[in-house]
Amino acid sequence: MNKENNRHEIVKIAFILILGAIAPMLDTTMTNVAINTIMNDLNSSVHVVQWVTTGYILSLGITVLFTGWASDRFSGKNLYIAGIILFLIGSIFSGIASNIDILIIGRLIQGAGSGIVVSLLSTLIVRAAGGKNLGSLMAIVGLPAVLIPILGPTIGGYIIDQLNWRWIFYVNIPIVAVSIALVIWLMPKFPASKKYGKSFDWIGFLILGGMFSSLILGIVKFSNYGNLSSANVLIPLFIGIDLLVAYVIYAQKFSKHALVSLSLFKSINFSGATVILLMSGITVNGAMFLLPLYLQNVRGLSVVWSGTYLIFQGVGLLVSRTQIGKLTDRIGTRWVVLVSVVIAVLSTLPFAFFDDNTSKYLIWLMLFFRGIGQGGLTIPVMSDSYSGIAAEQVPEATTATRTLQNVGGAFGSAILATVIQSQTNGLVPTVSNLSNAYHMAFIWSIAITAAAAIPAWFLSHHKDLKKQENKNIVKGADR
């Protein structure tokens, strides 16, 4: 009975946390469909307006670095409330922005709030669950993390169609208000686990923050130039890579103070999971960038209709998520992810051949299967990145995985945008020309998805799970 009550309590906490994270997660993709409208409305240029999305990712990534440490030192509940309020302030700023500069500042504040909320979502739920049944729990927590970005363009499309782009930010206000009330009323305090633990690693923060910012800047420049043959692209990329190397040396030398401990990577599961999360950032975010554009430019669909098509991905994800969670807990992550890679590849492959005459039912079917593949590629990996990780290292693990996911996401969109740009240079954007460019971008996306099978082999599988179970039994007997 106690076990059942405990389970209810965890699910309740999960739902409150998810509600607070809905708006930040929606805003990662919802803004993408509004970029053109914002650019024209605020009379900006392509290079400036891209900071509306890039600035958000950048600010989110830097805050993630801080949140891991802060969740040990401060009450999880208070930190979560602070994150949501910060996000609310950013949303109001963005909504009322009269020029592109104010909008970018608003997005930076939003990103900072989002970084706190999104990191705490998994950290607090893993803490509440005590590291048990992570597969099925992550199916609950991971669902919005995958489903909401899919629905972002749909909801954004409807809002722009019916109201205007400012409402993309205003809609956050009631969601956040309800969420704050529920968190204050129902969520436990999650007291600081290491109130007098290690002080904040400022050096590590500066190195990792600099690395993240430089890599994102380099990726954005790469996307603008379309190749590596410019110092404007190479310098930030090299600084990012050098800072990564510097961090490894630093974290090894000062392992007790390091913001993200290298000992996490001793777990093969964790290392494999982080590589897949980096790659899934490329494939999932890349596809989220590619599919709406493809549906609008090649199929000639409106923003609203392209978003409606994408709902089929969400349906695929919804249908499969319970089974994915159960299977992950029963047979481990390896085979679930490998099969998902195959499904994702096979369901994306037809997009490399589809044209404007392809039946919409076939597209819906493929999107449905893509949803299944996408769920299988992210939900189990998120849970596996925590398996075998000590409870006190969960915040650090979240920091590492979130940072890599963000870098992967930015990289995915940049690679695919560059492929499309290089294919259409000087060509009038006719359906036929665009169709060829998008086909090439889909082939790239498929290749990266297929490559995820390599790190997937290092994820946990049923033998690992049995070993772990046996260890637990022995430990229990010893007591």
């Binding site: 024209n40 043959s229 110092a231």
Partner: protein, 232 residues
């Protein structure tokens, strides 16, 4: 090759940091860091100096024909503006042959479009120039692979060389120019012809001279109107 050397250095430094018991760890680490920084400096410098390459420009020329003509052999190169916020790009429309019903297009996205108007030549042409880096030194080609590749394009330029009777007009202005000409030509030309005949009363009886003058005035007026609406 230098990219691969850089990657090896990165992996080496990380392994040295992680695996503690390696003899001469500090020395090897220092060599790897120096090599990494030197490689990166070389790669950045190559984006400026393009070692071992020469810039080759390849051009192709094609005669183009107008999609729209106005009286008096006034030809139009039509373009449409594509707005992207503050930025504006253009699609230029023309024909590849006089008989062709199919139009050809050039989009100024990712390429440089030059309009060389009022040129002395008889026919209009489109010149495509592609400047690309060609390696003259195999060693440099291998060393800098991935940064500057062989045949890498530096710049794509399309130049429209247009004689004096060609006008570059946007689609919107073309409609306005058409309406203007249709509305005002007859009135203006007949007034100008009347003035001309008053100045040259002897030619009032010479039908062919009147016709010739009328055509000339029509051509001049059309040209004046097109200039008003064009980029020329």
């Amino acid at each position: 090759m230098i990219i691969i050397i850089s990657l090896i250095c990165i992996i080496g430094i990380i392994l040295l940091a992680l695996l503690g018991n390696i003899p001469h760890r500090i020395t090897i680490g220092a060599i790897l860091i120096i090599t990494l920084l030197a490689s990166q400096t070389l790669l950045i410098a190559d984006t400026h100096y393009h070692w071992g390459t020469e810039l080759k420009v390849m051009s192709s020329k094609k005669t183009i024909y107008p999609l729209v003509n106005f009286p008096g052999s006034n030809h139009i190169l039509v373009y449409q503006n594509i707005n992207q916020g503050k930025e504006q790009k253009q699609i230029y429309v023309y024909k590849g042959s006089t008989q062709s019903h199919k139009s050809q297009t050039t989009y100024s996205n990712g390429i440089t479009v030059k309009l060389l108007i009022n040129q002395s030549q008889k026919n209009a042409s489109r010149i495509k120039s592609v400047s690309q880096y060609r390696y003259t030194n195999k060693a440099d080609q291998i060393l800098f692979a991935g940064i500057i590749n062989n045949h890498q394009i530096k710049k794509n330029t399309v130049s429209f060389v247009l004689p004096r009777n060609w006008f570059v007009i946007s689609k919107t202005n073309l409609v306005k120019a058409g309406k203007d000409i249709k509305k005002n030509t007859k009135k203006t030309v007949s007034k100008q012809l009347k003035d001309y005949l008053q100045e040259h009363p002897k030619e009032a009886t010479n039908k062919s001279a009147i016709q010739r003058e009328e055509n000339e005035l029509l051509k001049k007026y059309t040209k004046k109107t097109l200039v008003k609406y064009s980029k020329n």
